[in-house]
Each structure stands twice: as structure tokens, then as C-alpha cells.
Symmetry: C2
Subunit: 244 residues, 2 copies
DNA sequence: TAGTGGTCTAGACCACCCG
DNA sequence: GGGTGGTCTAGACCACTAG
């Protein structure tokens, strides 16, 4: 590249604290927030922004592409760039892991293990998990505690295939999720949420003395499309702060 | 640019169905899934991939940058690029909107409005919502139904400031969230989840005849950092399929 | 046909980390 | 000082949409 052009290079990080493409993103967001650019309205083309802001097209493009990925803009080839309507049609909840939840409130987290053993798959579990009856499966039954008081019960079934050493872990020390995350790529979950009244079993392990409504979360853990584990979480009468 | 270089341009979409940067992303994901590149392990540098795959650095960089944004990789300037450990430390739930939820099960959605009026802010609401006592606030009390049976109760308080025409809307026709989304940019929510037993009021409006545990979702809606609305959702004994 | 966004390249400068 | 990633540019080709 010629020296002349190097001198014209706009990348001068000493004076500009933020990268140019970030400045473009802020610029666009500002116009949207101000109401200058309305929802569903067309915003200037890449070419126009190149001229207005005196930047290269790749820089402008990166800013607009990222805003598109973030759902702020909507781009149509041959047509233009538009302000997207926020489509918060699905409410997303973020449930912190249990240890973080307890310690974030300044309390002490602990966990006791009631069972941690190899069982044969029962007929109903074979059906639910798509396994064959009688095969070996790991079952863990954990009581999570806040300042030594039970707050959550975890009843988990884990397939030996991918994590044969699961059964040798000490889950009073680390969370099951951390164990999976540390050795399996592409972890994902699906969930089912419901409410139920406490049972005798729950009364016993959670140290309850009267019927209590419980939040019931059923969570399956996958590595790619391979089922790793299925867990039932029970939070008696719980309250939960969730984000976003 | 010289003609020679144009002939060497690798962008030949007729033969390559996917863009090059997508191919690079797939290439990297494949190596991770195969186990060639382990969790926390270093992967080839941009320079090496440029040589191996015969592409420009910008193309390689875009692929690696996007994988980093997606949480698959971790990049450190001066050090290299590494396979990130899946950090699914927070469970994220996605709750579909009520109409979608009902219709996705092949049932008929409807909604009846019990209240939809302007009220003065009570002392306790003033405290909870950070408003001044006695000011005007919109209150809506909606019963959402599946095949004409009540499945969810919505008790909502809305600040007039940003959406003065809220009170003229017919929420038997559109969802409140859709109304907000259509006219306010940067919509976000926070939530609090809990369980509670049904009250007399709930029995009446939800047509229940005995005490039932209910899922209780408290949701505040913001546009940027400006509070728009706060709603209480009650799902008696509900079951919910949630994603991711 | 003109304008728009989608992709790609070659080359450059910078900031950072290490031995 | 050599290698790494982070950014930016000028210019090019392509695919799509519209009048």
C-alpha cells in the first residue's frame, strides 16, 4: 500500500478510545434512541455512511452486521437497512447455578449426598430416556443447602457412556454441571418447569413439616445431540431472582 | 487492484454453496467435536490457518471472531486462540408468549379483560415502582384462556409516560408485549419467579374450586432504562415446556 | 440499470505477551 | 524482537431488488 494512504488511515487508537466500528454502532443506536430513525424505518445505506463518517465500507459493514446479529437492525439485500422491531416474543429467564445463587446472597453453600450409585434402568426411565431396560445408569440424589438448611433437592440420572468416571466424583465439592462442562464440548440443556405439592419424600429430605408448593425443574443435559444426563430439581416454596 | 489478483480471488459462490468464513467456522467446530482440538487447548493461529486454508486473514479472522462471540473460542491478544470450556453456569429458560404457547398445542387462544382503567398509585406500589403516591397509573387485569378455560392471570401496572395510548388498546386483540414492542425501542425485562398457593381471588377468576399451587412470575418491562410496566403472571398448577 | 447489502483480498498499523 | 490477535482501508466481485 502507498505511503499516502497510510497517512490517511483512520485507525488512530491513541486519540480514539473506542474502535471505529464501535463508534458507528453507538452512532446508530443513538439515532434510534433519539427517535431520529423510527422502528421499521430505513437508515442510511452503507455507501452513505461511508461518505458521512469518512470510513471504509468494511468498517461500516461490520458495525451494521453486528447490530443485525444483535437484533437491532434488519438488512435486506437490494433494499436497505431498517430498524428492527424488538421481537421479545419469548421471555427468556436466566437461572443462576445454585452455588452462585447462595453465595451471592452472602450465605454459605453446601451439599450432602444421599445416594450416588449404579442402578439398573427401570421400565419407565427406559421409556423416558430412550434407553434399554436393565442397563446400568448412575443415580445421584443430592441435597443443596444454604447455611446448612436444605433449599433444593436434585435427583439425577446420568448415562455412563460419555462420562464413565462420573461415579467417582465427589459432588459435595463440585457441581455436576461444572463436571460436565469441564470435559464435554457443546453442552446444552432442555427444560420443563412445573409446580407441585411436596410429597412425603420431600418432607423428609428437605426437613419440611407441612405441605408446601414446590418449583419443579426437569432438566436434560446434552453434548451435541448425545444425552448425558437428566435431573429433577425441586425448590420448596422458593423465590428466585432471574435476569433478562 | 491488479487483474492477476482478481483471478486468484477465492470468492467463487457458484461452486461453494457456503461463504468461506462459514466453511472456516464449520472446519473449526468439526475439529473440536472430533476431539482433535481439546477444551482449553490452543488451535492454529490466524497466520497458520491463512496458509493452511489459502484464504485471506480477514476471512479467517471473521470466522474466529464470530466463534468467539458465540462462546466457542477464547482469544487472547499476544497469546493465541483456545477452545473455550462451555460455561453453562447459568441455566437460561425461554418461556414462549402465552398465545404462541396455546396455539402451538393446537388449541384456541382467547383473552378476557376484567379491568382496564386508570388508578391512583397506592403507597405500596409507589414504593415498589419508584413512583410518587397518588399519580395516575394504568391497571389491566386480564384472564388468558385456552379453549375458553382460564390458564393464566395477568395483573399489570403501566406507566402512562411513554405509552399514553395504552389505555385505548383492546388487549383481547393483541398481547401487551406486542403493543410495547411495536412502539418502544430497546425493550428488556427482569423477572422474579416464585410459587404460591391460590387465593380466593385466584379461585374466582381462574374458576378453581380447591387450593392449587401456582407458578408466579413477576415481570418488569423497560425501554432502555425507563420503566414501562410491571406485571404479575399467575399460572395455576401449570406445566411449561421451555427451550435451551 | 442503478443501488443495495454480502463477501473476499492484500496489505497495513497497532497493542499485547512472551522468552 | 517475533508471534499473536484487533483493527482499518481500498478495491473488487457477486446477488438481490426495484423502477
Amino acid at each position: 500500500m502507498h505511503r499516502k494512504k497510510l497517512q490517511n488511515n483512520k485507525y488512530t487508537p491513541i486519540e480514539d478510545p473506542k474502535p471505529l466500528y464501535q463508534q458507528v454502532k453507538s452512532h446508530v443506536l443513538q439515532h434510534i434512541q433519539n427517535g431520529d430513525w423510527e422502528i421499521h424505518g430505513r437508515i442510511p445505506s452503507e455507501h452513505e455512511l461511508v461518505a458521512t463518517l469518512s470510513m471504509s465500507r468494511m468498517t461500516i459493514h461490520r458495525a451494521l452486521r453486528e447490530l443485525t446479529q444483535e437484533g437491532i437492525l434488519k438488512r435486506v439485500q437490494g433494499l436497505g437497512t431498517f430498524v428492527a422491531a424488538p421481537k421479545q416474543m419469548a421471555t427468556t429467564l436466566s437461572l443462576p447455578n445454585i452455588e452462585e445463587y447462595v453465595t451471592s446472597r452472602g450465605n454459605r453453600y453446601s451439599c450432602t449426598v444421599q445416594f450416588h450409585q449404579t442402578d439398573p434402568v427401570t421400565p419407565e426411565d427406559a421409556l423416558k430416556l430412550g434407553l434399554k431396560e436393565g442397563a446400568d445408569i448412575y443415580r445421584s440424589y443430592l441435597i443443596h443447602k444454604e447455611n446448612n438448611l436444605p433449599i433444593m433437592l436434585e435427583d439425577r440420572y446420568t448415562l455412563p457412556d460419555r462420562v464413565p468416571d462420573y461415579i467417582n466424583q465427589d459432588f459435595t465439592k463440585i457441581l455436576v454441571d461444572s463436571f460436565f462442562a469441564a470435559r464435554c464440548p457443546f453442552i446444552n440443556h432442555d427444560h420443563q418447569l412445573s409446580v407441585q405439592m411436596s410429597t412425603q419424600e420431600i418432607h423428609h429430605f428437605m426437613e419440611l413439616d407441612h405441605p408446601t408448593p414446590c418449583l419443579h425443574l426437569y432438566q436434560r443435559t446434552w453434548s451435541g445431540d448425545k444425552l448425558l444426563s437428566a435431573a429433577k430439581f425441586l425448590y420448596p416454596g422458593g423465590h428466585f431472582a432471574l435476569s433478562c
